[in-house]
């Protein structure tokens, strides 16, 4: 096969990861506890920059060839299509800034070098997940991502709540993996191959849907669905996303769930041959997620837990977009969903990073180790204007207010829902719009709290926010506003992804 560059996007972060760990371990006896390992951070950042260069080169290759890039190592094949590049762009964007952000955040913590090592590893793994061509390979990347995330969630291993969250996450995620594997076994037994294209062909010629394949489909939906946080499989998410270090919370909500969703779509696409309404299934879960996520978020007083539930509802929007695309063949739905995938990464990433920066300054630096509450932020805008503005932009964008990014991607999904003049889809879009309004009921009070005149005690005792943390906030906030004003900025990424999705499902 022609030598192609995109596998290096996977290999570089994965390959550097053990070196980062080693460098951290070797240098640790020189740096006193409470100090920083700048070398580890620097190496991680350099790796990310190198991976960006590889992304740019691979993208150029992709657009010039105008079809998916293929690569194989013996019998393992990797394929980079529009969806792979969307996921890669998301992972690299968020990953780079999380590495930068984590510098001061994780400095001096127990196991700092493991953090960077696992972060780099999970970045490489997720790019790999997007490029899998057969079901088992997909599962391998998926499982690797899961294992890395277990370690990252339970990073604060001295805290019982962190361990609890990690343990429950592990058990539920492992259950999901088992279900996925059962589905794979069923497909292996029925079709005889695990290559996704070949399965598609074999299934397409089948007259009606045989029970084992339907069972496999259900297993895929639920098995991957645990990771994607479908309601009622989501119960691990509020704990895991709120207990993890803030940079990891951002990664989890922003890309890990989404990578799980892409894995599920890849797996389901193999079974799209017979006329089973996967679209309807996604729509149903979408509606459930949206409503449930919003309702649960209303009751939260802890910021990170609220943002975790908010992720549930945004997955709901994405599922609705996908459901519209799959049930009516409308590319607008697919593009809207792809756009919202990207936007949600930026918005939720910014929200978690801003909240994390405030948590760092208000609580961690003062040695207080408890979750950040809404009331802690009273009047924070006076002392931390940048972080407060960034958090406000992120929250209002998540609530779907113009002229911010979230409005544009939701709009695109809504347009798609109305294009077919199907009353069910139209009703669902209205329901989604009302849910957007509902979400403002918990986002807006936080913004108000930030801009109070009088600073609360917690704010008054807060420390500085380091520059390394402020840079990601500024860049993401700018991105949200720019994309909100010029949504076509992201078309270069979302259009190929939407096309690849529809091709995958045979529409």
């Amino acid at each position: 096969m022609n030598p192609t560059l995109f596998p290096w996007m996977i290999a570089v972060p994965l390959g550097v990861s053990p070196f980062v760990y080693l460098a951290g371990r070797l240098g640790s006896h020189k740096v006193e506890l409470g100090g920083r390992s700048p070398f580890v951070r620097g190496l991680a950042l350099l790796t990310m920059l190198a991976t960006w260069v590889l992304f740019a080169l691979s993208w150029a290759e992709f657009t010039s060839q105008n079809r998916s890039l293929l690569f194989h190592l013996d019998s393992i094949w990797l394929q980079a299509d529009g969806i792979s590049f969307l996921l890669a762009a998301m992972v690299l964007s968020l990953g780079t800034f999380v590495v930068l952000f984590s510098g001061p955040y994780i400095a001096g913590e127990l196991g700092e070098e493991k953090y960077y090592a696992m972060l780099l590893a999970i970045i490489g793994i997720m790019v790999g997940l997007g490029s899998a061509r057969d079901l088992f390979n997909l599962w391998m990347w998926f499982e690797a991502m899961a294992v890395s995330s277990y370690l990252l969630v339970a990073f604060y291993r001295e805290r019982p709540t962190s361990l609890e969250a990690g343990m429950k996450y592990l058990v539920q995620s492992a259950t999901g993996s088992v279900l996925v594997l059962l589905g794979i076994a069923l497909i292996l037994g029925t079709v005889g191959t695990l290559d996704m294209d070949q399965i598609r062909l074999a299934v397409a010629s089948a007259a009606s849907a045989p029970l084992p394949l339907l069972l496999a489909g259900a297993l895929f939906v639920i098995g991957f669905g645990v990771k994607v946080a479908f309601v009622p499989l989501h119960t691990w998410l509020p704990d895991a996303h709120s207990q993890a270090p803030s940079g990891i919370s951002a990664m989890l909500s922003g890309v890990v769930i989404e990578a799980g969703l892409i894995a599920m779509l890849r797996a389901l696409s193999t079974l799209s041959g017979f006329s089973v309404s996967w679209g309807v299934l996604l729509l149903a879960f979408g509606a459930l997620n949206m409503f449930f996520g919003n309702l649960m978020a209303l009751r939260q007083t802890q910021i990170k837990r609220m943002l975790a539930y908010s992720s549930l509802s945004h997955i709901g929007y994405i599922l609705i977009g996908l459901g519209i695309a799959l049930s009516s063949g409308n590319p607008a739905g697919a593009q809207g969903a792809a756009f919202h995938l990207f936007n949600h990464m930026i918005m939720k990433g910014l929200a978690f990073l801003a909240a994390g920066a405030l948590m760092y300054a208000l609580l961690d630096q003062n040695g207080i180790h408890r979750p950040l509450e809404v009331n802690d932020l009273s009047g924070a805008a006076h002392k931390y204007p940048l972080a407060a503005l960034a958090l406000s932009i992120a929250l209002l964008a998540l609530g779907g207010l113009p002229p911010l990014a979230g409005f544009m991607s939701k709009w695109q999904i809504f347009v798609a829902g109305f294009q077919g003049a199907n009353p069910w889809l139209m009703g669902l879009v209205i329901f989604a719009a009302l849910n957007s309004v509902l979400s403002l009921a918990y986002y807006a009070p936080i913004v108000n709290m930030l801009y109070r005149r009088n600073m609360g005690e917690v704010v008054q005792g807060g420390a500085r926010i380091p520059v390394a943390m402020s840079i990601p906030l500024v860049i993401f906030a700018l991105a949200i506003v720019l994309i909100g004003l010029m949504p076509s900025l992201m078309n270069w990424l979302t259009e190929p992804a939407a096309q690849a999705l529809l091709v995958m499902f045979g529409k």
Binding site: A146, Y150, P160, E164, T175, L181, G189
Partner: protein, 103 residues
């Protein structure tokens, strides 16, 4: 259902799954949970081999099974490491005692 070797193995897989899920639902001890997960994984391993045999691709089935065994051993190690940490910090392995996050 005739009792062919394949069907017998299939029955075995289902039995292991039932035992595994039942165990997952009722157990309260962290180490036992890891054990139960391993039972489920073994069920899946056998299922993969079974699937390979049923479609005439036994070699593929077996190699997948071997890979899964390795992969899930790693998961088990991580799980046990977490369990050790829990025991060290909280002093118990009882799941009910470490379930403080709710709502």
């Amino acid at each position: 259902m005739t009792l062919t070797p394949l069907n017998a193995v299939l029955f075995g897989v289902v039995l292991l799954l039932v035992v595994g899920f039942y165990g997952l639902l009722i157990t309260r001890n962290l180490i036992k949970i890891v054990l139960v997960l391993q039972i489920l994984v073994k069920a899946v391993v056998v299922a993969l081999v079974l699937g390979g045999k049923a479609s005439g691709n036994l070699g593929l089935g077996q190699s997948l099974a071997a890979t899964v065994i390795v992969a899930d051993t790693i998961v088990a190690v991580v799980a046990l490491a977490l369990a050790v940490q829990v025991r060290r910090r909280v002093g118990t392995l009882d799941l009910a005692k470490i379930s403080s996050l709710r709502g």
